[in-house]
Structure formats: structure tokens, C-alpha cells
């Protein structure tokens, strides 16, 4: 119908990368569960293995989609003592990977070797349902899975099975299908089993600074479109 589309890439890279790291840390250190224990009286005298999580020191991090956000995530995780970065995608990106000495590997190897998996790829026909039963079955029992891309990249039934059967240790999701999840969704039932997960309401870019910038950019795109001018960021269809 000849309708032009503007969008806001790039300006939300930092906010989204930062949220991905926040989510990873909240999942691997069991933050919401810990906070709940304080409020409900589960916090009694000190016990050595209580509320024990995982550290990042000497870990292997696997990034699915080493685009702008993926790189920004890797940059933030590096000083936590990550020993190795792996990444996967449609093709190797040696210029982007060099900063982290990241190794390009097939998806299967990334699943097998990573202690932390972070999904920061675009949703495309190729990535839809990519994180499925096979993927989760290859992951370590002690691993943490984080998705801040799109819910549809993950097969949610398979993720539920993986968590319920202890195939992975924890999951952090900023995105689901649908949003919000229906209250009777199996993933939400895991709460009572003591499984660790953190689900957030799609807040990757939700900061005052970033949303203001996005709003201004979106408005400028719109105005340019209405005036028949080139847009600052046009999505070419």
C-alpha cells in the first residue's frame, strides 16, 4: 500500500544490553527468590549452601546473535571474569568478535559448552523456535539461559520441560509468547517447585533516557515521512 515505515535502531542498544546483564545476574543469583525469602521469613540463621547461585568467574558465555546488542552484552560481561566467549549466527563476524576473542561455533556446540547463554538475535524465519528441545537437552545442568530478543525464538513448552527436569539451572526472560503470559501458563507453575526463573515485562529499553530518545527519533521519522523526506531511520521493505 506504499506505506513507509520508520524505526529506532541503535539508540536502545545500551539500555537493552544493560537489562540483559541485569536479568542474567538476577537469574544466576536467584534475586527475586532471595527477596521473597526475606519478606516471608524464610531467612533464618546462616546456612552454608542456602540460596546458592552461580558466579561468572572462569565461565563460558555463549551469545546467540553478535549484533550491536550482543556485542554490548559481551562488553559488559567481560570484566566479570568470563574465560571464554562463544557466538553463533548466520555467519561469522570477525571484526565484532575480535574485541572479546569470541569463537564462532554451531548452535549445538554453543549449547553444549556455555555456562551462560544469552539470546540477542533478531526474530526471523531462521531463528523462530530455534531454542528448542534439542538445544536445551545439550545445555549443562548448571547453565543459565537468558532471552531478551523475542519470545518466539524460544519454544516455550521445551523450555518448561528443560527447567522442570533440571536440564538447565535457571532462565531469565524479558520476552515471551504471548506478552503477558497467561496466568495458567506452565512456566509460571514452576514457581512453586523452587525452580529458578525471572520473567520481566519486556523492559529491555524501558529507561527514561532511552525511551525519550526513541520517542524523538520516532517522531522525526514520522514527520519526515509525512513531508516526503528521507527518514533518519527508515525500514526498507
Amino acid at each position: 500500500r506504499g506505506i513507509r515505515v520508520g524505526y529506532t535502531p541503535d539508540v536502545l542498544t545500551d539500555a537493552t544490553a544493560e537489562l540483559s546483564v541485569a536479568l542474567l545476574l538476577a537469574a544466576c543469583r536467584r534475586l527475586p527468590e532471595a527477596v521473597e525469602q526475606v519478606k516471608t521469613g524464610g531467612w533464618t540463621t546462616w546456612k552454608p549452601l542456602w540460596m546458592c547461585g552461580y558466579g561468572l568467574s572462569d565461565s563460558t558465555v555463549g551469545i546467540i546473535g553478535l549484533g550491536r546488542i550482543g556485542q554490548a552484552v559481551a562488553r559488559r560481561l567481560k570484566p566479570f571474569g568470563v574465560k571464554k566467549f562463544l557466538y553463533t549466527g548466520s555467519r561469522p563476524k570477525p571484526e565484532s568478535a575480535a574485541e572479546f576473542e569470541a569463537e564462532f561455533v554451531p548452535l549445538t556446540r554453543l549449547a553444549e559448552e556455555s555456562d551462560f547463554v544469552v539470546v540477542t538475535c533478531a526474530l526471523t524465519p531462521a531463528t523462530q523456535g530455534m531454542c528448542n528441545k534439542d538445544f536445551f537437552s545439550r545445555m549443562k545442568k548448571t547453565s543459565v539461559f537468558v532471552n531478551t530478543s523475542r519470545g518466539a525464538v524460544v519454544n516455550q513448552e521445551d523450555l518448561y520441560d528443560a527447567l522442570a527436569h533440571g536440564q538447565i539451572a535457571a532462565a531469565g526472560l524479558d520476552v515471551t509468547t504471548p506478552e503477558p503470559l497467561p496466568t495458567d501458563h506452565p512456566l509460571l507453575s514452576l514457581k512453586n517447585c523452587g525452580e529458578w526463573w525471572v520473567i520481566l515485562p519486556h523492559i529491555g529499553s524501558a529507561t527514561y533516557a532511552t525511551r525519550s530518545t526513541m520517542a524523538v527519533l520516532a517522531a522525526n521519522n514520522l514527520l519526515a515521512g509525512l513531508q516526503g523526506q528521507p527518514m533518519p531511520h527508515e525500514l526498507l521493505l
Binding site: 539500555a15 534475586l31 521469613g41 546458592c52 558466579g55 503477558p180 523492559i203 532511552t210
Partner: protein, 266 residues
């Protein structure tokens, strides 16, 4: 864990060393223990990474409202996600680190990767190369640090000098948009003053892994505030740290028993 009191020490005449798991020894009466001729060791190296990690986790969780967000995402009352529900950004904000020892320095290394502007205050100034490596600026007057920071993180050990280090005056110096993070010891903060400051929005929020006492009683006013995150002292609660603390404690104790100098004698 057993309380190390006079009665216990009198009942253990052959005790040579107490190996503490963790770095803080504020819970031990060091003078009394020393009078019994018993040595004390701690595990300063084992705790560093996991504690720095939790400091970052708390700062990010508070800034981006993670605990609230999780509740919203799973609540039966949530029909859609509001687009105007926002947090504050850690990237490019100013972090003031009070206490730049091993743990404080590791926090600075992590924060730098978020392009944070890092200010610090310490008993002793760090070497220039160390400051430059993390882009940290020394604040000789810690009032300057308090006034300029968006996030203030306490990473000191508890001593008579640091007891109630942060009180009404210090909280008043902080920005009203600032967040206070404590991964040191609860008693470093005047908790009553903190409650008042949070109630009156003198500061934006607080995130505490440590309180006084621990556990915090469920009726405590801090738990009624919606701008506070409290975790139950999980700074060293990782598989890796627990393993390393055990190894470090054992190595220290063996050294003492073998008549050698322990690496981490207190």
C-alpha cells in the same frame, strides 16, 4: 554456626586456630580470642568475585526495577505491559564507591564496562595506574562523592570508624535521584536514618545485601518500603565461592597447625 564465646574457648584448651569462612570478622571478639592464644584466619580472596557480582546485581536490579517487574510480569492482574513503566539507566551514570579494597576495585572494573563514571573514597588513595585502569577519580572529601553520585556503593569492612558511616547527614548530601547499595555490613548504615530518608524520598532507593540484625525481623519498616531491595546476605552464595572459601580456610588452618605463617591471619 557456633558462637565463639568465653565458654566455648575454655572448653577447647587445645584449640590453635579459628578459620573463618568469609572476610568479615566483626562477629568475633578478637581481643578475647587472642587472650586464649588462638589465631584467627579469614578468606579474603575467595569472596571477592561473588561479592562484586552481587553489588552489580543489586545496582542493576534497583535501577531497572527488576523485582517489581517480575511481579508485574507474572501477576494475574496484568493484562498488558504499560509503555510508560520506566527505570533509570546504569550506563553512563556516576558510581561512587566507598571502600576501594579488593572487592571495591572489582566492582569498579565491572562498572567501567557500563561506561560509568567512577568516583571513589578510600582510607588510602590507590596508585595512579590502578585508578587509570578503571577510570576512577579519587574524592578526598567524600562529601563530593555523595553529592555527585547516582549510585553509592558501600564496600568497606566494619570497624569502629565505619560504624554508622552513612547517617542522616550523608543521606541528605546524596542526590534525591540516587540509590544506596550496601554489600559491606548492615551496621555501616544508620538504619533508622535510612528508613526516614527512603520514606521522605531524600534518596530514590536502596538495595541491601546486609542489614542489622540478620535476619531482619519481618515487621521491620525497611520491608514495608517499595523502593528497597533486601537480599539475605548472599554475597558469597555461589558454588564457586563456597568451594574457594573452604579451600582458603583449610590452607590457612593447615599453615597455622604446621607452625607456618598463615596467608590470611587476622
Amino acid at each position: 554456626r557456633p558462637t565463639i564465646d568465653r565458654e566455648l574457648l575454655e572448653s577447647l584448651p587445645n584449640l590453635k586456630v579459628i578459620g573463618n569462612s568469609g572476610v568479615g570478622v566483626d562477629h568475633l571478639d578478637l581481643k578475647m580470642i587472642s587472650n586464649f592464644g588462638v589465631k584467627v584466619t579469614n578468606t579474603p580472596h575467595a569472596v571477592v568475585d561473588s561479592t562484586a557480582d552481587i553489588g552489580m546485581a543489586l545496582m542493576l536490579a534497583s535501577a531497572r526495577r527488576l523485582v517489581e517487574g517480575c511481579q508485574i510480569a507474572v501477576s494475574p492482574d496484568t493484562k498488558h505491559f504499560a509503555v510508560d513503566w520506566l527505570g533509570v539507566e546504569v550506563t553512563r551514570a556516576t558510581l561512587g564507591i566507598i571502600g576501594m579494597g579488593s572487592i571495591g576495585y572489582k566492582v569498579a572494573q565491572r562498572a567501567r564496562a557500563f561506561n560509568m563514571r567512577i568516583l571513589y573514597h578510600n582510607r588510602n588513595r590507590r596508585r595512579k595506574e590502578e585508578e587509570e585502569a578503571v577510570g576512577a577519580h579519587y574524592c578526598e572529601k567524600w562529601e563530593d562523592l555523595l553529592q555527585q553520585s547516582d549510585f553509592v556503593m558501600l564496600v568497606v569492612n566494619l570497624t569502629p570508624e565505619t560504624h554508622k558511616l552513612i547517617g542522616k547527614k550523608e543521606l541528605g548530601l546524596m542526590k534525591p535521584t540516587a540509590t544506596l547499595i550496601n554489600i559491606s555490613r548492615g551496621a555501616v548504615i544508620d538504619q533508622d536514618a535510612l528508613v526516614e530518608a527512603l520514606q521522605n524520598k531524600v534518596i530514590r532507593a536502596a538495595a541491601l545485601d546486609v542489614t542489622y540484625p540478620e535476619p531482619l525481623p519481618r515487621a521491620h519498616p525497611l520491608l514495608k518500603l517499595n523502593n528497597v531491595i533486601i537480599t539475605p546476605h548472599i554475597g558469597t552464595a555461589t558454588v564457586q565461592a563456597i568451594h574457594m572459601m573452604a579451600e582458603e580456610a583449610i590452607a590457612n588452618m593447615l599453615a597455622v597447625l604446621n607452625g607456618q605463617r598463615a596467608p590470611s591471619e587476622v
